[in-house]
Subunit: 214 residues, 2 copies
């Protein structure tokens, strides 16, 4: 059977009509990471394979292995890239409440999209490396002040809130709750819930010692 079609093996002339172009360098790497991200969001980490990514990216596994030695590295790289890409335009409505709500709505919608990726947060990689979702998040956001932080800073600058009552835990509370909700329900958070988080939990804590806003 090895004598079948001897040396008609020339690529381009064989049964597989290969595209005449080859991606290189950054262009290729971006394509690979995008494919990896798409794979992650669609099939989840548990079914995330080098083979699947290679197929989707229309390349071979070798190209992937040259850059990432295993699937968890690739997954992390894809997540990193995606979090960098996801630039939020920062709301500036003039009130803390509306700024915060705008960001939560955005976060909820976005978390909802990538809910499948959260499977990654639990999976084997963290068992091996001892890394956690929190660590990954910190690294991904390293340096850059988040939109969230900027919105809070502005509220402090306006004199709307007292920086002393804004402990890190209270500051991150709304986003934490939205994230928790998404993880538990595997879907974006109803707007009613977002409003409740802001009006019944976050703002009362932030304005605890002050008279209520007008």
């Amino acid at each position: 059977m090895p004598s079948k079609e001897i040396s008609t093996n020339r690529p381009g002339s064989g049964r597989t009509p290969r595209p005449a172009t080859r991606r290189r360098g950054t262009q290729l790497e971006v394509a690979l990471l995008d494919a990896a991200w798409a794979e992650l969001t669609e099939v989840g980490y548990s079914a995330f394979t080098m083979e699947g990514v290679a197929t989707r990216a229309k390349t071979s596994r070798a190209v992937l292995y040259r850059r990432w030695s295993n699937r968890s590295s690739l997954a992390i790289a894809a997540i990193r890239r995606q979090t960098k890409l996801a630039v939020v335009d920062i709301p500036d409505t003039g009130t803390l409440r509306d700024d915060v709500l705008a960001l939560l709505r955005h976060a909820s919608a976005r978390f909802g999209e990538v809910a499948g990726v959260f499977s990654f947060l639990i999976a084997d990689h963290f068992n091996e490396t001892g890394m956690s979702a929190a660590v990954l998040r910190e690294r991904a956001l390293a340096g850059e002040p988040t939109a969230w932080q900027i919105v809070l800073d502005r509220a402090v600058a306006r004199g709307e809130i007292d920086p002393d009552v804004l402990s890190p835990r209270i500051a991150s509370l709304p986003l934490d709750l939205v994230r928790h909700d998404v993880i538990m329900n595997r879907s974006s958070v109803p707007d009613k819930t977002l409003v409740e988080i802001v009006d019944r939990i976050f703002l009362p804590l932030v304005f605890a010692d002050r008279p209520r806003r007008p």
Copy 2:
């Protein structure tokens, strides 16, 4: 090579000194489920295999397959058993704060179990069924009032808190935050954090309209 050691294959006389006892019936089944639970909490669902469970239980896969046809059935059975077993003894210190703290400490200490169960909930099985962790949790707790609910009810009965300010979201807030923390950090929650959640977030919200406690 098949003629090597013909018929010295008698178990008990071979190279493997097998234990002379055999578990049966309920005793065996309990051992299997315990092994499955241990495996689930330690390696997570993505690395949860019939083979791993069998090895841990010191039995063969056939014994597992006779009872559960695949790993998700086995995982579900193990989780079911555990949720039945895990009876929390309900603290009754006389104050809401200490009761709540006791329950949070208990929940935090069992973080590994949370992580194990979550790794299952989030894995592929649920991608297909569309079920969410929140739904499954409700089902698991169906009927039975939780220790958490009982503690809150007692505080209401003592007149310590006003049932009207205790919306479902605020009521579940401390547990939600602990769960979120466990998921994000893959470890138990520092006691300092638990105290902060109770004293800086939960109690201020619950006692919002009242004078501070003595």
